[in-house]
Every structure is written in C-alpha cells, then in structure tokens.
C-alpha cells in the first residue's frame, strides 16, 4: 500500500524489481520457518513428538514410499477422487447448462441447491456411510456431492451471465439452436465453468480425505488417522503434507488452465 507514490506510477513500472523481491522474501520466510522447525526440538524448546522435524518427516517419507502398501493407498485415494470428481463434472456441467437455459427449472431447484451449498458437505458423511458403507463408494459419493454443487452453480451463473446481445447476434445470422449452444453459450460460459471446477476440486479432495479419515479400510486419509492415533507425528506429517501437495498441485493445474483460457480468448 505505497500510498505516497505518485498516482501515475503504475505498479507495472516496478514489476520486474518487485517480482524478484517478492520471490526472495517469500523464499526466505519459508526457509526460516523450516529452519526453526528443524532446530527448535534440538534445543529442547519443543518436544519433537508434537511437532516432528523436517529431517524426520523426510526419513518417514522415504520409509513409507519404499514400503509395500503405499502404492495401494495412493491408488485408492486417487481412484475415489477421480471417479467422484469426474462424475461431478460429468453431471454438474450439463445440469448447470440446463438450469441456466430454463429459468423455470432453475427457480424451482435453486432453493434446495443453495441450501446444500450453504451446508458443510462433510456433515453429510455419516448419512452417506449409513447408505453406502465404509468402502470406496461412500468416499466417491462425498467427493461427488462436494464437487458437483459449485460446478453446477457456477455453470448456471456462467450461462445466465452471457450477454443477451451475443445470442441475439448469433440468431440474426440464422444460427440454429445447436450452433448457438456450441458457438456462443459453451465458450462464453467456459470461464465460469472452470471457476466452478476449481472451487469444486478442493471440496472433492476434502471429501475423499475426510471420508477416509472418518471410516475407511484404505487410502491416505486412513493412514493419517492411524498414525495420528499412534502419535507417530513424522509419519503422520508426511501423509498430511502429501495430501496438501496434491490438493495444491491440482488447484494450481486448474488455475493455469484457466489462465491459458483467458489469454487464448484475447
């Protein structure tokens, strides 16, 4: 907030300088954090059982990865996520498009959809487990529920937000309904759809992880709970970080895709 700068000096003029500065300070901050994390237990200020240390986490990680069951856990979690989220997109986008197109349906279904959106989707875990048991199905279901609502809501918003004039213009060129759909509505609402996908993604990941933590037989979340209850902080942290990294990577991937979409549109 450099308010005393001359107003016409836009942020651009210092972009390259600021960018480098930003990366430097951010990196230093993270490095400092890691250093404190590693050294504090050594000085006896903190008990390593509670916080572990980067070195220990890495060691635990190595142990985990090279052991047999790891791949199984990863594939279970990934599968639950992929199927659940895939279904969310496959159903959320078309339904969102339909709701955007037909105001009557939208007005009818809006209240329950908004009610579900306002609820923490993880609260539905127990009832879903009652319905589907503790196997993979319940996690897929939670991932689906978590992901589908944002996708649906944002797709609908995307369709509604389209400039009427675009559609009218297309019609004036004798475009058929299908043409209007493919050439105007779909591309026009794509930014909103990708936004919905990005929002839904984190909810889906959360659904899988917490679902596994709650009741499961396998998966990363399952291990998190197990090691947590055994107070093995280093193993626990490795899994936690692994999950976090996955969530971050997936979100970033969608962001990058979104940006590509924007620049392509220009």
């Amino acid at each position: 907030m450099k308010l005393t700068r001359s107003i016409y000096l836009t942020a651009h003029n210092a972009t390259s300088r600021l960018c480098a500065q930003r990366t430097l300070i951010s990196t230093l901050a993270v490095a400092a954090f890691l250093a404190v994390w590693e050294l504090a237990p050594r000085t006896g200020a903190v008990d390593a059982t509670f916080t572990s240390q980067p070195s220990r986490v890495i060691a635990a990680g190595w142990d985990i990865v090279t052991s047999g069951g790891f791949l199984n856990d990863v594939s279970v979690s990934l599968a639950e996520f992929a199927i659940g989220f895939g279904l969310a997109i496959a159903i959320g986008v078309p339904v969102g498009l339909v709701l955007g197109r037909f105001p009557f349906l939208r007005n009818l279904l809006d209240p329950p959809i908004m009610a579900i959106y306002a609820t923490p989707h993880l609260a539905l875990l127990p009832i879903i487990v009652v319905w589907l048991g503790i196997g993979m199905q319940s996690k897929i279901a939670v991932a689906f529920v978590g992901g589908v609502i944002p996708i649906l809501v944002n797709t609908t918003a995307g369709v509604r937000g389209l400039e009427r004039s675009w559609i009218v213009a297309a019609r004036s060129f004798c475009a058929s309904s299908w043409d209007v759909f493919v050439k105007v509505i779909l591309p026009g609402s794509l930014p909103s759809i990708t936004l919905g996908i990005r929002l839904g993604l984190s909810r889906a990941v959360l659904g899988v992880v917490v679902g596994e933590m709650y009741q499961s037989q396998a998966g990363l979340g399952n291990k998190v709970m197990r090691y947590g209850s055994e107070f093995r902080t280093d193993y626990l942290l490795f899994y936690v970080l692994l999950i976090s990294v996955f969530g971050l990577a997936a979100t970033t991937a969608v962001r990058v895709f979104e940006e590509k979409l924007w620049t392509a549109g220009k």
């Binding site: 907030m1 308010l3 951010s26 009610a115 127990p126 979100t251």
Partner: protein, 254 residues
Amino acid sequence: MDGWKMKPVVLGIASFAVMLLAWESAVRLGWVNPFFVSQPSAVAATLSRTAKSGELEHNLAVSFGEFAVGYGLSIVVGILAGALAARFRTIEYALDPFLWFLYSAPLIAFYPIFVIWFGLGVPTVIALAFLLSFPQIAASTLNGFQNVNPGLIRAARAFGATERDLLWKVALPASVPMVISGLRLGIGRALMGVVVGELFGATAGLGYSISYYGGLLKTTDLIASLAVIVVLGVLSTQGLSALEARFDSWRVND
C-alpha cells in the same frame, strides 16, 4: 412467466414444502425404505423431543460456542494480518506462501496433529475452525486494502491528505465491502471446521451428534441433527449476504 418472479423466500419455502411432501409420501407409499432416509414426520418428532429434553439445546450451545470462539479469533487475527500485510509489503511477501498453503490445502487433514497438541474435545475443534477460516479473512482483508480505487487516493492526496488520513479516511472505509465478503466466506469454513472436528473426537455438539447416531445407524436422529446444521448454514450465509448487500453501495461504481 411473470408469475414465477415471486419473492425468493416464498419460492424457497414452497419448494421445500413440496419436497418434504414428496419425501413423506414416498416413504408412506413404500417406495423408499425409511431406514435409509427416515420421514419428515419422524424427524420432526425427534426434533421436538430433543428440544424438550434439552439435548438439542446442549448440542447447539456446544457447537455454537466452539464456532464463536474459533470464528471470532479468526476475524481478529485475520483482519490484523491482512491489514499488516497491506501496510508492509515485506509482511505480505513473507505471509504469502503460508496463506496460500493454508488456503488451498485440505486443512482438515491436520486434525490428528491438533489432537496430538490439544487432545480430543473442544480446543481441537476451535483450532480447526480457526485455521480453516482465518486465511480467507486475511486474504480478503489484504485484497480490500490493495484494491482501493486509486482515483479516491488521488483525490484525497489532491486535498492534502497525509498518509494517516489516507489510511483512516480512505483505505479503511473503502476496504469494508471486501472485508465483509471475506467474513461471509469465512463463516462457511469455520462452520465446516466445527462440524468435522466434532465428527471425529468430541463428546457433544451437532457434529458429534450426527457421528454418534450414524454409528448406531439411527437414521432419524441423524437426520434431525443434520437438518439443524443445514438450517444454521443457510441462515448464517443469508445473514451475511444481506449484510454484504447493505454495504454494497460503498463499492465505487461509476
């Protein structure tokens, strides 16, 4: 289609009434097994029973207390952090990677760590609620300060504003809409933190309630508590949306 432009509240209530009716009928007609979905009539009965016995009140109080402390803390810390980051670029850059991590990573996975630190029960739930909502509020506050309309700052400078003036008379009021927006988003996340925290290791509260009855396969009681959570979620979101709308005119729109 003018008849459909009824007030959303009326439509919402009508919509729910229809669904409740369909739900009840489906069960009575034998289309659906009430073991899985219960019935509105049974749920209503349970709700009134637990309300009378004080069980509902107790759970509500516990959950609400955890929410209030966790969310309240995140408001204070979040706005402070956001304001400091806006004022001091170094702080912004230093906090940036941590906020980004806290914001995007599935934080609930940290639950077992909190259990190790705070034990099972209320403190862990509060910690979770705090951790989930604080990055949102901090980010929105930071955003609000950084996106003050530069035209307003230029005008204030033209009339001789000092930097303190710019902070108190321009930046602060101008950032209010975004801060409130962050508060609204933070509520959902704090609520989730409370519910999930209780799901796992509490002894009271709404989340605990649904987990407990879920374990006993007592669907009706489960749905009763779940309904309360849904209503709370809707009310709080709508409430803050209304607040947001009231301050919407503070956004510069030319």
